[in-house]
Symmetry: C2
Subunit: 313 residues, 2 copies
């Protein structure tokens, strides 16, 4: 059983890379139930289970995050890529979580609210486990703007539907604005990894994060649509002019919450289609599957490089 | 292979209970790929598969929606409750879908964006399948305010974090306000079913729908918390005064989209805890499991009654 925990852990003030929680109430809690993970400080020894985590990769699909941990096990030589890695959140179907060596792979479902619940509990998990120097990368899928399908976009800034780099968080009924800045140096390192791999196109661009897949992303194929194709193309054109190269549904709250917790963070999404040319995903299953592996390959290469560098130093 | 389809299907103007799509662009599409269901008009015969659907039950958890279809199969005498009903969305892990007789059971994940994607594709599915007289019920879990845990709340109005009965939908970067009215008569019928069952408390009340589980619902146990316990209790007290009896994360967009599509809709959620007394879910697994079955039992009873009544008439 894990002991009680404190907000003021040793070294929290000295190291810029420890995981921060900003909640004085946590001090007075005897235990912390991470409900949507089916984990807790009184039921698991979180430092023993997770204390060595240095890289967390998160993505919408539970299947993809399981495939990622298998891929990374093979790439890093930590285990058999065909092994059946256990789901550490086995008692719930809200999220899935897998671990191999210093790499944690967690699913987050679709949309800001779904990833936000996961991140609250992930940040507390990393904090309770006394993790430090953690890098978090979202690997996902997205719609591209003016890019060849299959291009991987590393997010410079996550923007809202008005092309502003901010997240509006409602707290007690009032709106608080949070920054969605990501780590620029990390983005450049990831771009460099893309160049080294040289297997697909990788670019840095702004990412629009919306609350809705159909009307919120100017699609013409939802159950409701009150605008014309010209309206759609004008809107996407304005987005392109604001530096936006892809659209997804989680990056803004991901960036905001990682920043508040002093976690080094990046968003790496492949584009499944060019929204200037259509709305529906009509590529074959095999082609889409191949596209979805690209962020995994990029981040796998990055982690391998980082681990090699840390072994040398 | 299903033929092309039209927005103006026969009888659409005469029957108030046909499923409406409000999208002129659908007329010109040769096929419609319901991507997140892994279904489509060119790959499946949707009228043959779904044309007889009269009740759709939706809920966050894929496991719960599978359990629901097994429960309803037994209750209605349509099949073995222990049978392994196939997932009709088997090629994707975004949502799960099960069917027995006229009842469709679909999972929607957590939060407004996640259920919104599902509802766009569900409404189009019902439309393509020529369904009519469809009732949709969300069966879920929630946090209660001033209610004994385990109480089932049937939603009168779904309210936002400022206690207003509306949904702000962003379309092409601009905010459109939508009504979140639900069917009052259906709510009363469901309340009557609760009285008939007489196995747990059932009430009608307003439901607050938030974009966030922690800060958005005034919890003190998230990774971030900038307010005091007094602030929290004041906020929840104001919510109670506005008639709010429970808090969840999907009802507003569910109500708004069902209303736009002329679907008779209700929200039936069990409360897992009383938020005036705490934030964490510390009840035993068995107790929480029992609570989660209550909306299923209530809606099962309702469907049984409806089918009996339609057989008589």
């Amino acid at each position: 059983m894990a002991p009680g925990f404190s907000n003021q852990k040793s070294g929290a003030g000295e190291s810029p890379r420890s995981v921060h929680v900003n909640n004085p109430h946590l001090d007075s809690m005897k235990e912390d139930v991470l409900y949507h993970f089916n984990l807790g400080t009184a039921t698991q020894d979180l430092p023993a289970m997770f204390g060595d985590v240095k890289f967390v990769c998160v993505g919408g699909s539970a299947w993809r995050m399981k495939a990622f941990v298998q891929y990374i096990a093979g790439e890093l030589g930590f285990g058999d890529p065909k092994a059946d890695y256990p789901n550490l959140c086995a008692g719930t179907d809200r999220y899935s979580m897998y671990k191999v060596g210093p790499v944690l792979s967690v699913s987050h479902g679709m949309g800001i609210p779904s990833i936000s619940i996961m991140l609250h509990e992930l940040i507390k998990l990393l904090y309770h486990a006394n993790c430090s120097d953690v890098t978090v990368v979202r690997i996902g899928t997205s719609g591209g703007i003016g890019l060849k399908p299959g291009t991987v976009v590393i997010t410079k800034q996550s923007m809202d539907a008005s092309f502003q780099p901010k997240l509006e968080q409602v707290i007690l009924g009032k709106t608080v604005v949070r920054s969605t800045d990501l780590d620029e140096e990390l983005a450049e390192e990831l771009l460099q990894c893309g160049a080294e791999l040289d297997e697909f196109e990788t670019v840095i661009g702004n990412t629009m994060c919306t609350l809705d897949f159909y009307e919120g992303q100017a699609r013409l194929d939802g159950a409701f649509c009150s605008y014309t194709e010209e309206d759609k193309l004008n809107y996407l054109g304005e987005a392109y002019a604001a530096g936006i190269r892809n659209i997804e549904m989680e990056s803004s709250v991901f960036a905001a919450m990682c920043k508040l917790s002093c976690l080094r963070a990046a968003v790496v999404c492949v584009t499944l289609l060019d929204r200037l040319k259509g709305d529906q995903l009509t590529s074959s299953h095999d082609v889409l599957n191949n596209f979805q592996q690209r962020p995994q390959m990029l981040v796998g290469h990055f982690i391998k490089k980082q681990l090699k560098a840390s072994q040398k130093s």
